[in-house]
Symmetry: C2
Subunit: 465 residues, 2 copies
């Protein structure tokens, strides 16, 4: 049963499992104690820190183990910003950072740097945001991911690091998605990672803070981990995390080539196999193992359920699969279609045959979900154009209907109105704000914008072909 959601959490690497078992026996004591069990635990902790630091590309005394990648980000952001109060209280982030970064930065004033349709920030836009803003508030910290967790798009970290250095602003790199594949080749000031993304166990994150970077821990005092991460060290898991990072790195070069080939196959073939699909993310500068696409007129949750029944575990940034009712902020920032969104992230060792089987079942599953939702059979054909009932201004009332229904109703009505007609779609579903313009772009129709309505929002679309 192929598991294609490595970007959420990867199964434990065999080396990690072995290391964990050994460390359960040897490393359960308090490494701060002076007796033999404590000294043994301290040796294991020191060795794990050295191994992890080497893989990260930093000194062991720059590396702190945290209970999760999220905690690493929270501690890193608060410690770095608080140490630079005099420089300013503003945090510059890309609009597509992981939610842990956005939430941690949200404690302060935030400047979001937008991304292009491939999900990549422009170096110059990021550099431009590093100066004081209109109110004169300076920048305490910049945050940029090494690669995006939903699209795989790699960010121009080296270039942004250069701009940060020139501006005298420390840069925190969230490397959670890329650390399995190699160190971050840029002059970062702080770096965060998460072990269960690289085949290590849950319960271990890492925060590296370069010597010389000002850092002021903000939590209650604690003597563990140089005062940077409170609580008894999760030692067996730390040992396993370090061991698995070494192990995946040893296999990374070969596995990256192999998985990149499998992902290229998906990227190339899905648009031919499934009509009305948008493959998103940078086709070249991307993580080797991750690809994301969105299927028009498809309810994401239903499609995930069908894929699960067919034996494939994938995730989705569609609003209907999240508890927030809003589509992924990453897809929103990119301005791409969010409905029927599928993220495939292949764990190391994924077999070619499993990818082929995925490509074999996908078209039928998508067609089935579309049929159930009453989606139009094919692209809106420029053609006759029925002169729909209501004279010049037909309305699609999709209030109370969730994604993908508003877009489906629009797509059904459009071919029945004359070219030049403006259609108003009324919707109170957050996904419509993203998906109606995205549909217009895909279909070559004109999106005229939105305006407030009695309930929800009115989206205006003009038929141009």
């Amino acid at each position: 049963m192929p598991y294609f959601d490595a970007a959420s959490s990867a199964p434990l690497h065999p080396v990690a499992r072995q290391a964990l078992l050994a460390a359960l026996d040897e490393g359960w004591a308090d490494p701060a104690r002076l007796y033999r069990e404590g000294r043994r635990a301290r040796l294991l902790l020191d060795a794990a820190r050295e191994a992890a630091a080497e893989a990260v590309g930093c000194r062991p005394d720059e590396l702190t183990f945290t209970p999760s990648g999220t905690r690493a980000v929270h501690l890193g952001v608060s410690g770095a910003v608080s140490a630079r109060r005099r420089a300013g209280r503003r945090v510059v982030v890309s609009a597509v950072e992981h939610s842990s970064v956005l939430h941690a930065a949200g404690r302060f004033a935030v400047t979001e740097v937008p991304v292009d349709r491939l999900g990549r920030v422009s170096e110059s836009a990021f550099a431009g945001a590093l100066g004081p803003d209109a109110s004169g508030e300076g920048v305490a910290l910049a945050c940029l991911q090494s690669a995006n967790h939903e699209t795989g798009t790699e960010q121009p970290v080296a270039e942004v690091a250069g701009a940060c250095r020139e501006a005298g602003v420390p840069l925190l790199v969230d490397a959670a998605q890329s650390l399995a594949w190699g160190p971050v080749g840029a002059e970062w000031s702080l770096l965060a990672g998460s072990a269960h993304k690289w085949g290590g166990p849950a319960g271990v994150g890492l925060l590296a803070v370069r010597k010389g970077v000002r850092f002021a821990p903000q939590e209650p005092a604690d003597e563990r981990e140089s005062g940077r991460s409170a609580g008894f060290e999760n030692l067996p898991a730390i040992v396993a995390a370090a061991a698995s990072l070494r192990a995946v790195r040893a296999e990374a070069a070969a596995e990256a080539v192999r998985l990149r080939g499998l992902v290229d196959r998906i990227r190339a073939r899905v648009p031919g196999l499934v009509p009305d699909v948008e493959v998103v993310g940078d086709p070249v500068r991307r993580l080797p193992h991750l690809v994301t696409f969105s299927c028009l007129y498809v309810d994401g949750e239903t499609l995930l359920h069908e894929l699960d029944r067919a034996g494939f575990s994938v995730s989705s940034g569609s609003s209907c699969t999240s508890s927030t009712l809003a589509p992924s902020h990453v897809l929103r920032a990119m301005g791409v279609l969010s409905e029927g969104n599928v993220r495939v992230s292949l764990p190391p060792g994924t077999e070619s045959a499993d990818v082929d089987r995925f490509l074999a079942v996908l078209p039928e599953l998508v067609a089935g979900v579309r049929a159930k939702a009453g989606a139009p059979a094919g692209p809106a054909r420029p053609g006759a154009g029925e002169s729909g009932g209501a004279g010049g201004s037909p309305v699609v009332d999709a209030l109370g209907r969730r994604c993908p229904i508003p877009v489906i109703e629009l797509a059904k009505l459009l071919p029945r109105v004359p070219v030049g007609t403006t259609i108003t779609v009324l919707s109170d579903d957050e996904a419509a704000r993203l998906d109606i313009p995205a549909w217009c772009e895909m279909r070559g129709q004109e999106y005229l914008g939105e305006r407030p309505s009695d309930r929800g929002t009115a989206y205006l679309v003009r038929r141009v072909s």
Copy 2:
């Protein structure tokens, strides 16, 4: 090789190990995902929460898993205090709480309730501290441990909980040391625990917040654990933690009786085997597995080292074994001797023969350490009394000398001065503040108090017998 430091960290319970291994295979995926691996992880998480809640004595939806006991305390204190800003910003704690409680409370105004020589707070003193203070500042939260981690003394939690209820103040109980032995039989509002203290793995704490208790999480938003503890759940460890809590509880009643017998043996025999020993903590209302004593004229670190060489792993609250140069705040609050302090905490399964072996080697080891430090051979004998050189006011200059030297020098000089003479001990060692008065109490001499000196402090002792 007997390990006698269960209060620091206990070896993994066999049941925990088994549960961890199973959960590594079944519970590595994200429990928030809808596919089969995610659903399986969710089932494991729900079952672990139910089992842990039953053992704690709360509803599953009142229980949050955290990455450590320290984090549980930090999150509990900040969330509870912040939710009651309008009632006040003061936190009432016992003076002998764990450092995680004291540090978390230290973010706010703190009222410390003193303890008696057995390490127990008085219910009435605690109740008296729950009203507004002189400045009118109200109390947001009270914190009381179920039992002390250094002395084993049980606190009057039920009585204090009653006083808190009357005063309308929520009570956080740090149950880290007692949870293995049973639920906290009192009406707490919040409760914190730590799995590696009950034979579970590191990386798991728990925070219970009773329904109806106001609680406002203070950290960046995160959807895990009902927004109360950020970061990917450490699921295999959580499963193991819950399993081991059930397992130790099943054995708790019988094991408590057995270990209490072994501890009673140590309490009864050590004062006879080793001269000049003070056994500290409540002899009756105490944890079953823990006993602490202090040895006059003994350097704690040297004694721990000698015990380690003899195969016994114990811990100490002496200043010379800590990185802070200050003796344990618990011993300080009790006003008992801190030098040569040894804490013995027996893990479940400790054998009677190991305790006997400990009692067999201890006297010789203490005698050896004392001889090395040049300690006086026996108690100061009231006797001749040499009329020491410097007329009426002899001085012991122990500046720059660390514990136990200041007390040793005092003990050597005292028998050589006439009864009625006041000796001045000059010391800049923080332990002297505790150990000189404690020595006077043990020896029946009069402690006259301290006053500032050019360097360090002058402690005044009058020979009365």
